[in-house]
Protein backbone atom coordinates (compact mmCIF):
# COMPACT_ATOMS: atom_id res chain seq x y z
CA UNK A 1 0.00 0.00 0.00
CA UNK A 2 2.07 2.86 -1.31
CA UNK A 3 0.88 6.24 -0.03
CA UNK A 4 3.57 8.47 -1.48
CA UNK A 5 2.68 9.99 -4.86
CA UNK A 6 4.99 11.94 -7.15
CA UNK A 7 3.01 15.14 -7.37
CA UNK A 8 -0.34 16.77 -6.74
CA UNK A 9 -1.65 15.86 -10.19
CA UNK A 10 -1.02 12.14 -9.82
CA UNK A 11 -2.31 12.16 -6.24
CA UNK A 12 -5.67 13.45 -7.44
CA UNK A 13 -6.08 10.78 -10.08
CA UNK A 14 -9.16 8.63 -9.62
CA UNK A 15 -10.61 10.51 -6.65
CA UNK A 16 -12.10 13.60 -8.31
CA UNK A 17 -15.63 13.90 -9.69
CA UNK A 18 -18.07 16.69 -10.52
CA UNK A 19 -20.38 17.70 -7.70
CA UNK A 20 -18.08 16.32 -5.01
CA UNK A 21 -17.54 17.78 -1.55
CA UNK A 22 -13.99 18.85 -0.73
CA UNK A 23 -12.58 19.92 2.63
CA UNK A 24 -9.58 22.18 2.34
CA UNK A 25 -7.41 22.90 5.40
CA UNK A 26 -5.92 26.19 6.44
CA UNK A 27 -6.76 29.45 8.19
CA UNK A 28 -6.52 32.47 5.92
CA UNK A 29 -3.51 31.63 3.76
CA UNK A 30 -1.75 29.85 6.62
CA UNK A 31 -1.41 26.10 6.27
CA UNK A 32 -3.39 25.78 3.05
CA UNK A 33 -2.74 22.93 0.58
CA UNK A 34 -1.45 25.25 -2.15
CA UNK A 35 -0.27 22.55 -4.49
CA UNK A 36 -3.38 20.41 -4.27
CA UNK A 37 -5.69 23.39 -4.78
CA UNK A 38 -3.83 24.35 -7.96
CA UNK A 39 -3.88 20.75 -9.18
CA UNK A 40 -7.58 20.46 -8.38
CA UNK A 41 -8.20 23.48 -10.58
CA UNK A 42 -6.23 21.83 -13.37
CA UNK A 43 -8.43 18.72 -13.25
CA UNK A 44 -11.34 20.88 -14.43
CA UNK A 45 -13.66 19.31 -11.86
CA UNK A 46 -16.94 21.26 -11.56
CA UNK A 47 -19.74 22.04 -9.12
CA UNK A 48 -17.65 21.59 -6.01
CA UNK A 49 -18.93 22.10 -2.51
CA UNK A 50 -15.90 23.35 -0.63
CA UNK A 51 -15.68 23.30 3.16
CA UNK A 52 -12.95 25.66 4.27
CA UNK A 53 -12.73 28.28 6.98
CA UNK A 54 -11.86 30.95 4.40
CA UNK A 55 -11.88 31.27 0.62
CA UNK A 56 -8.35 32.37 -0.18
CA UNK A 57 -7.53 35.61 -1.98
CA UNK A 58 -8.18 36.40 -5.62
CA UNK A 59 -5.03 34.86 -7.03
CA UNK A 60 -4.02 32.36 -4.36
CA UNK A 61 -5.52 29.46 -2.49
CA UNK A 62 -9.19 28.72 -3.11
CA UNK A 63 -9.45 31.97 -5.05
CA UNK A 64 -7.99 29.98 -7.96
CA UNK A 65 -11.02 27.69 -8.00
CA UNK A 66 -13.38 30.64 -7.74
CA UNK A 67 -11.86 32.38 -10.74
CA UNK A 68 -12.56 29.32 -12.86
CA UNK A 69 -16.10 28.95 -11.41
CA UNK A 70 -15.44 25.41 -10.25
CA UNK A 71 -17.03 26.04 -6.85
CA UNK A 72 -20.80 25.86 -6.53
CA UNK A 73 -21.01 26.26 -2.79
CA UNK A 74 -18.76 27.28 0.11
CA UNK A 75 -19.17 26.36 3.78
CA UNK A 76 -17.00 28.85 5.65
CA UNK A 77 -16.82 31.09 8.69
CA UNK A 78 -15.21 34.15 7.12
CA UNK A 79 -14.67 35.08 3.49
CA UNK A 80 -13.70 38.71 3.55
CA UNK A 81 -10.52 38.81 1.51
CA UNK A 82 -11.65 37.93 -1.98
CA UNK A 83 -13.23 40.27 -4.54
CA UNK A 84 -14.14 37.51 -6.99
CA UNK A 85 -15.87 35.68 -4.19
CA UNK A 86 -17.89 38.79 -3.40
CA UNK A 87 -18.86 39.29 -7.04
CA UNK A 88 -20.03 35.71 -7.54
CA UNK A 89 -21.88 35.68 -4.24
CA UNK A 90 -23.68 38.97 -4.82
CA UNK A 91 -24.66 37.89 -8.35
CA UNK A 92 -26.08 34.62 -7.01
CA UNK A 93 -23.59 32.40 -8.87
CA UNK A 94 -22.12 31.06 -5.64
CA UNK A 95 -23.93 29.55 -2.69
CA UNK A 96 -22.59 30.30 0.74
CA UNK A 97 -23.27 28.73 4.12
CA UNK A 98 -21.78 30.51 7.10
CA UNK A 99 -20.84 28.46 10.13
CA UNK A 100 -19.39 29.90 13.32
CA UNK A 101 -15.72 29.01 13.25
CA UNK A 102 -15.83 26.75 16.30
CA UNK A 103 -18.96 25.04 15.04
CA UNK A 104 -17.29 24.44 11.69
CA UNK A 105 -14.20 22.99 13.36
CA UNK A 106 -16.32 20.76 15.59
CA UNK A 107 -18.51 19.61 12.69
CA UNK A 108 -15.39 18.38 10.88
CA UNK A 109 -14.06 16.73 14.01
CA UNK A 110 -17.46 15.08 14.61
CA UNK A 111 -17.66 13.82 11.02
CA UNK A 112 -14.28 12.18 11.35
CA UNK A 113 -15.15 10.67 14.72
CA UNK A 114 -18.48 9.10 13.74
CA UNK A 115 -20.61 11.64 15.57
CA UNK A 116 -23.54 12.68 13.36
CA UNK A 117 -24.81 15.42 15.66
CA UNK A 118 -23.85 17.41 18.74
CA UNK A 119 -25.21 20.27 20.81
CA UNK A 120 -23.62 23.68 21.24
CA UNK A 121 -24.70 27.01 22.66
CA UNK A 122 -22.86 28.87 19.93
CA UNK A 123 -25.39 30.75 17.84
CA UNK A 124 -28.41 30.27 20.09
CA UNK A 125 -30.78 33.20 19.53
CA UNK A 126 -29.15 34.16 16.22
CA UNK A 127 -29.86 33.52 12.54
CA UNK A 128 -27.60 30.48 12.78
CA UNK A 129 -30.09 28.75 15.07
CA UNK A 130 -33.05 29.08 12.72
CA UNK A 131 -34.46 25.73 11.68
CA UNK A 132 -32.16 23.81 14.01
CA UNK A 133 -33.25 21.52 16.81
CA UNK A 134 -33.15 23.25 20.20
CA UNK A 135 -32.71 21.37 23.43
CA UNK A 136 -32.24 22.26 27.07
CA UNK A 137 -29.48 20.82 29.23
CA UNK A 138 -29.40 21.94 32.87
CA UNK A 139 -31.73 24.83 32.08
CA UNK A 140 -29.65 26.24 29.26
CA UNK A 141 -30.62 26.14 25.60
CA UNK A 142 -28.41 24.55 22.96
CA UNK A 143 -28.78 23.88 19.25
CA UNK A 144 -27.91 20.74 17.36
CA UNK A 145 -25.25 20.86 14.68
CA UNK A 146 -24.36 17.93 12.42
CA UNK A 147 -21.09 16.22 11.60
CA UNK A 148 -19.48 16.88 8.22
CA UNK A 149 -17.65 14.46 5.99
CA UNK A 150 -16.10 15.07 2.59
CA UNK A 151 -15.51 12.99 -0.51
CA UNK A 152 -12.00 14.38 -0.49
CA UNK A 153 -9.96 16.25 2.10
CA UNK A 154 -6.84 18.12 1.07
CA UNK A 155 -4.54 19.21 3.86
CA UNK A 156 -1.13 20.78 4.31
CA UNK A 157 1.34 19.52 6.91
CA UNK A 158 4.94 20.29 7.75
CA UNK A 159 6.41 16.80 7.67
CA UNK A 160 5.05 13.39 6.85
CA UNK A 161 6.27 9.83 6.43
CA UNK A 162 5.44 6.97 4.07
CA UNK A 163 2.73 5.73 6.44
CA UNK A 164 0.97 9.09 6.21
CA UNK A 165 1.83 10.19 9.73
CA UNK A 166 1.79 14.00 9.81
CA UNK A 167 3.05 16.81 11.96
CA UNK A 168 2.03 20.43 11.61
CA UNK A 169 3.96 23.57 12.45
CA UNK A 170 2.76 26.39 14.73
CA UNK A 171 -0.58 27.96 13.73
CA UNK A 172 -0.49 26.23 10.34
CA UNK A 173 -2.17 23.31 12.10
CA UNK A 174 -5.63 24.95 12.43
CA UNK A 175 -8.33 22.99 10.53
CA UNK A 176 -5.98 20.46 8.94
CA UNK A 177 -6.15 17.62 11.51
CA UNK A 178 -9.95 17.48 11.69
CA UNK A 179 -10.35 17.73 7.96
CA UNK A 180 -7.80 14.95 7.49
CA UNK A 181 -9.99 12.76 9.69
CA UNK A 182 -13.23 13.61 7.88
CA UNK A 183 -12.30 12.83 4.28
CA UNK A 184 -13.37 9.59 2.64
CA UNK A 185 -10.07 10.10 0.86
CA UNK A 186 -7.48 12.40 2.39
CA UNK A 187 -4.46 13.71 0.52
CA UNK A 188 -1.73 15.53 2.41
CA UNK A 189 0.92 17.79 0.96
CA UNK A 190 3.99 18.27 3.11
CA UNK A 191 7.13 20.35 3.04
CA UNK A 192 9.26 17.32 3.71
CA UNK A 193 8.78 13.56 3.52
CA UNK A 194 10.91 12.11 6.28
CA UNK A 195 12.13 8.54 6.78
CA UNK A 196 9.81 6.21 8.67
CA UNK A 197 10.67 6.31 12.36
CA UNK A 198 12.00 9.85 12.40
CA UNK A 199 8.79 11.40 13.71
CA UNK A 200 8.38 11.16 17.48
CA UNK A 201 5.45 8.75 18.03
CA UNK A 202 4.30 10.81 21.03
CA UNK A 203 3.99 13.86 18.83
CA UNK A 204 2.25 12.79 15.65
CA UNK A 205 -0.62 15.18 15.12
CA UNK A 206 -2.41 13.17 12.43
CA UNK A 207 -1.84 9.39 12.49
CA UNK A 208 -1.41 7.81 9.08
CA UNK A 209 -4.72 5.99 9.28
CA UNK A 210 -6.37 9.24 8.16
CA UNK A 211 -4.10 9.83 5.17
CA UNK A 212 -4.47 7.79 1.99
CA UNK A 213 -2.05 9.74 -0.21
CA UNK A 214 0.84 12.06 0.47
CA UNK A 215 3.02 14.29 -1.69
CA UNK A 216 5.90 16.63 -1.19
CA UNK A 217 4.82 20.11 -2.31
CA UNK A 218 6.50 23.44 -3.00
CA UNK A 219 5.14 26.12 -0.73
CA UNK A 220 5.01 29.83 -1.37
CA UNK A 221 3.37 30.45 2.04
CA UNK A 222 2.06 33.87 1.23
CA UNK A 223 1.50 36.24 4.16
CA UNK A 224 -1.77 38.18 4.35
CA UNK A 225 -0.95 40.72 7.06
CA UNK A 226 2.73 41.27 7.52
CA UNK A 227 2.80 43.11 10.85
CA UNK A 228 6.18 43.85 12.35
CA UNK A 229 7.64 45.99 15.09
CA UNK A 230 10.85 47.91 14.92
CA UNK A 231 13.93 47.21 16.95
CA UNK A 232 14.77 50.07 19.21
CA UNK A 233 18.17 51.50 18.40
CA UNK A 234 20.82 50.22 20.70
Amino acid sequence: MKKIFNDAKSALEGVVFDGMTVMSGGFGLCGIPENLIAALRDTGVKDLTVISNNAGVDDFGLGLLLQTRQIKKMISSYVGENKEFERQYLSGELELEFNPQGTLAERCRAGGAGIPGFFTKTGVGTLIAEGKEHKEFDGETYIMETGLVADLSIVKAWKGDEQGNLIFRKTARNFNPMMASAGKVTIAEVEEIVPLGSLDPDNIHTPGIFVQRIIKGEHEKRIEQRTVRERENA
Binding site: F27, C30, S77, P100, T120, K121, K170, M178, R229
Partner: protein
Protein backbone atom coordinates in the same frame (compact mmCIF):
# COMPACT_ATOMS: atom_id res chain seq x y z
CA UNK B 1 -12.79 65.09 26.97
CA UNK B 2 -13.87 61.67 25.74
CA UNK B 3 -11.46 58.74 25.75
CA UNK B 4 -9.45 57.90 22.65
CA UNK B 5 -8.68 54.40 21.40
CA UNK B 6 -5.74 54.02 23.71
CA UNK B 7 -7.67 55.24 26.74
CA UNK B 8 -10.37 52.70 26.01
CA UNK B 9 -7.79 49.94 25.60
CA UNK B 10 -6.12 51.00 28.86
CA UNK B 11 -9.45 50.85 30.67
CA UNK B 12 -10.24 47.43 29.19
CA UNK B 13 -6.87 46.12 30.35
CA UNK B 14 -8.00 46.74 33.95
CA UNK B 15 -10.51 43.90 33.54
CA UNK B 16 -7.67 41.42 33.49
CA UNK B 17 -6.68 39.51 36.59
CA UNK B 18 -3.64 37.47 37.50
CA UNK B 19 -3.76 34.04 35.85
CA UNK B 20 -6.39 35.03 33.27
CA UNK B 21 -6.61 33.49 29.82
CA UNK B 22 -7.85 36.18 27.46
CA UNK B 23 -8.98 36.39 23.85
CA UNK B 24 -8.65 39.79 22.18
CA UNK B 25 -10.62 40.69 19.07
CA UNK B 26 -9.49 42.75 16.11
CA UNK B 27 -9.17 46.56 16.26
CA UNK B 28 -9.11 48.41 19.59
CA UNK B 29 -9.14 45.13 21.55
CA UNK B 30 -5.76 44.28 20.01
CA UNK B 31 -4.35 47.42 21.62
CA UNK B 32 -5.35 46.16 25.06
CA UNK B 33 -2.30 43.89 25.05
CA UNK B 34 -0.12 47.00 25.33
CA UNK B 35 -1.63 47.98 28.68
CA UNK B 36 -1.62 44.76 30.67
CA UNK B 37 -0.27 45.39 34.16
CA UNK B 38 3.28 44.06 34.57
CA UNK B 39 2.37 42.63 37.97
CA UNK B 40 -0.14 40.14 36.63
CA UNK B 41 0.37 37.04 34.54
CA UNK B 42 -2.02 36.95 31.60
CA UNK B 43 -2.02 34.47 28.70
CA UNK B 44 -3.47 35.55 25.37
CA UNK B 45 -5.33 33.03 23.26
CA UNK B 46 -5.64 33.27 19.51
CA UNK B 47 -8.58 31.19 18.30
CA UNK B 48 -6.78 29.90 15.24
CA UNK B 49 -4.88 27.62 17.59
CA UNK B 50 -2.49 29.20 20.03
CA UNK B 51 -2.14 29.98 23.72
CA UNK B 52 0.56 32.42 24.76
CA UNK B 53 0.55 34.93 21.93
CA UNK B 54 3.58 37.20 21.83
CA UNK B 55 4.06 40.64 20.24
CA UNK B 56 4.49 41.38 16.53
CA UNK B 57 7.77 40.01 15.17
CA UNK B 58 10.83 41.97 14.20
CA UNK B 59 11.27 42.00 10.43
CA UNK B 60 13.70 39.07 10.51
CA UNK B 61 11.40 36.97 12.73
CA UNK B 62 8.37 36.97 10.43
CA UNK B 63 7.02 33.44 10.02
CA UNK B 64 4.12 32.65 7.66
CA UNK B 65 3.20 29.67 9.83
CA UNK B 66 2.70 31.92 12.85
CA UNK B 67 -0.30 34.25 12.64
CA UNK B 68 -3.11 35.37 14.91
CA UNK B 69 -6.84 35.23 14.25
CA UNK B 70 -6.57 38.59 12.50
CA UNK B 71 -4.09 36.92 10.12
CA UNK B 72 -1.30 39.15 11.39
CA UNK B 73 2.20 37.78 11.84
CA UNK B 74 3.03 37.37 15.52
CA UNK B 75 5.55 35.64 17.80
CA UNK B 76 5.54 32.91 20.40
CA UNK B 77 6.57 32.99 24.05
CA UNK B 78 8.19 30.45 26.34
CA UNK B 79 4.74 29.38 27.54
CA UNK B 80 3.25 28.99 24.07
CA UNK B 81 1.31 25.94 22.94
CA UNK B 82 -0.25 25.28 19.53
CA UNK B 83 -3.31 23.15 18.83
CA UNK B 84 -6.01 22.53 16.25
CA UNK B 85 -9.05 24.73 15.65
CA UNK B 86 -11.26 22.05 17.21
CA UNK B 87 -9.18 22.03 20.38
CA UNK B 88 -9.06 25.83 20.36
CA UNK B 89 -12.82 26.20 20.23
CA UNK B 90 -13.16 23.38 22.73
CA UNK B 91 -11.36 25.72 25.13
CA UNK B 92 -13.61 28.59 24.16
CA UNK B 93 -16.93 26.74 24.12
CA UNK B 94 -16.01 24.85 27.26
CA UNK B 95 -15.70 28.04 29.30
CA UNK B 96 -11.96 27.87 29.88
CA UNK B 97 -11.22 31.38 28.60
CA UNK B 98 -11.75 33.94 31.34
CA UNK B 99 -12.26 37.07 29.29
CA UNK B 100 -13.02 38.06 25.72
CA UNK B 101 -12.60 41.68 24.65
CA UNK B 102 -14.14 42.52 21.31
CA UNK B 103 -15.67 45.27 19.19
CA UNK B 104 -19.34 45.71 18.34
CA UNK B 105 -21.77 47.46 16.03
CA UNK B 106 -24.62 47.44 18.56
CA UNK B 107 -25.19 46.36 22.15
CA UNK B 108 -28.64 46.16 23.73
CA UNK B 109 -29.46 46.89 27.36
CA UNK B 110 -30.13 43.18 27.92
CA UNK B 111 -26.64 42.25 26.77
CA UNK B 112 -27.50 41.28 23.20
CA UNK B 113 -24.61 41.84 20.84
CA UNK B 114 -24.53 42.51 17.09
CA UNK B 115 -21.17 42.67 15.40
CA UNK B 116 -21.14 40.48 12.34
CA UNK B 117 -23.58 41.47 9.63
CA UNK B 118 -25.40 44.38 8.09
CA UNK B 119 -28.27 43.18 5.92
CA UNK B 120 -27.93 44.36 2.34
CA UNK B 121 -24.18 44.74 2.66
CA UNK B 122 -21.66 42.08 1.76
CA UNK B 123 -21.43 39.75 4.74
CA UNK B 124 -17.96 38.51 5.47
CA UNK B 125 -18.96 36.01 8.12
CA UNK B 126 -18.93 35.70 11.88
CA UNK B 127 -15.56 33.98 12.14
CA UNK B 128 -15.14 32.94 15.75
CA UNK B 129 -17.22 35.73 17.29
CA UNK B 130 -20.35 33.67 17.98
CA UNK B 131 -18.31 30.95 19.67
CA UNK B 132 -16.42 33.47 21.77
CA UNK B 133 -19.45 35.34 23.09
CA UNK B 134 -21.31 32.07 23.77
CA UNK B 135 -18.44 30.33 25.50
CA UNK B 136 -16.15 32.80 27.26
CA UNK B 137 -16.86 33.48 30.92
CA UNK B 138 -16.86 37.27 30.64
CA UNK B 139 -17.42 39.36 27.52
CA UNK B 140 -16.27 43.00 27.41
CA UNK B 141 -17.16 45.14 24.41
CA UNK B 142 -14.96 48.09 23.47
CA UNK B 143 -16.49 50.42 20.91
CA UNK B 144 -17.20 54.03 20.05
CA UNK B 145 -20.30 55.27 21.80
CA UNK B 146 -22.01 56.24 18.56
CA UNK B 147 -21.69 55.36 14.90
CA UNK B 148 -19.80 57.59 12.51
CA UNK B 149 -23.11 59.29 11.70
CA UNK B 150 -23.70 59.91 15.41
CA UNK B 151 -26.39 57.27 15.87
CA UNK B 152 -26.43 55.52 19.26
CA UNK B 153 -24.97 52.03 19.42
CA UNK B 154 -26.23 51.24 22.93
CA UNK B 155 -29.86 50.38 22.20
CA UNK B 156 -33.07 49.07 23.72
CA UNK B 157 -32.85 46.26 21.22
CA UNK B 158 -30.32 45.53 18.53
CA UNK B 159 -31.57 46.27 15.03
CA UNK B 160 -28.90 44.15 13.35
CA UNK B 161 -28.76 40.35 13.34
CA UNK B 162 -27.34 39.12 16.63
CA UNK B 163 -23.97 37.56 17.32
CA UNK B 164 -25.20 36.41 20.72
CA UNK B 165 -28.16 36.85 23.04
CA UNK B 166 -27.58 38.36 26.46
CA UNK B 167 -23.86 37.74 26.28
CA UNK B 168 -22.23 41.13 27.04
CA UNK B 169 -21.07 41.78 30.60
CA UNK B 170 -19.43 45.18 30.14
CA UNK B 171 -19.23 47.90 27.52
CA UNK B 172 -16.37 50.39 27.38
CA UNK B 173 -16.96 53.32 25.05
CA UNK B 174 -15.20 56.64 24.52
CA UNK B 175 -17.70 58.15 27.00
CA UNK B 176 -17.52 55.67 29.84
CA UNK B 177 -18.08 52.19 31.20
CA UNK B 178 -21.33 50.23 31.49
CA UNK B 179 -21.99 47.02 33.31
CA UNK B 180 -24.76 44.69 32.20
CA UNK B 181 -26.20 42.39 34.84
CA UNK B 182 -26.87 38.71 34.21
CA UNK B 183 -30.35 38.68 32.70
CA UNK B 184 -30.16 42.32 31.62
CA UNK B 185 -30.03 45.78 33.17
CA UNK B 186 -27.41 48.30 32.15
CA UNK B 187 -25.57 50.50 34.61
CA UNK B 188 -23.22 53.40 33.89
CA UNK B 189 -20.35 52.91 36.32
CA UNK B 190 -17.61 55.23 35.06
CA UNK B 191 -17.37 58.39 33.01
CA UNK B 192 -14.53 59.42 30.75
CA UNK B 193 -12.73 62.59 31.80
CA UNK B 194 -14.89 65.69 31.45
CA UNK B 195 -17.87 63.70 30.19
CA UNK B 196 -21.15 64.25 32.03
CA UNK B 197 -24.02 61.87 32.59
CA UNK B 198 -26.08 64.16 30.37
CA UNK B 199 -23.49 63.83 27.60
CA UNK B 200 -23.89 60.08 27.83
CA UNK B 201 -27.67 60.21 28.00
CA UNK B 202 -27.94 62.37 24.92
CA UNK B 203 -26.12 59.83 22.79
CA UNK B 204 -27.56 56.63 24.23
CA UNK B 205 -30.84 54.96 23.38
CA UNK B 206 -30.57 52.16 25.95
CA UNK B 207 -31.99 52.67 29.42
CA UNK B 208 -29.29 52.66 32.04
CA UNK B 209 -28.97 53.21 35.72
CA UNK B 210 -26.35 55.75 36.81
CA UNK B 211 -23.87 54.53 39.40
CA UNK B 212 -20.82 56.72 38.87
Amino acid sequence: MAWDRNDMARRAAKEMEDGFYVNLGIGIPTLVANYIDDDIDVTLQSENGMLGMGPFPFEDEVDPDLINAGKQTITELRRTSYFSSADSFGMIRGGHIDLSILGAMEVAENGDLANWMIPGKMVKGMGGAMDLVAGVKRVVVVMDHTSKSGAPKLLHECSLPLTGKGVVDMVITNLGVFEIAEGGGMKLTELADDVSVDDVKSSTEANFEVAV
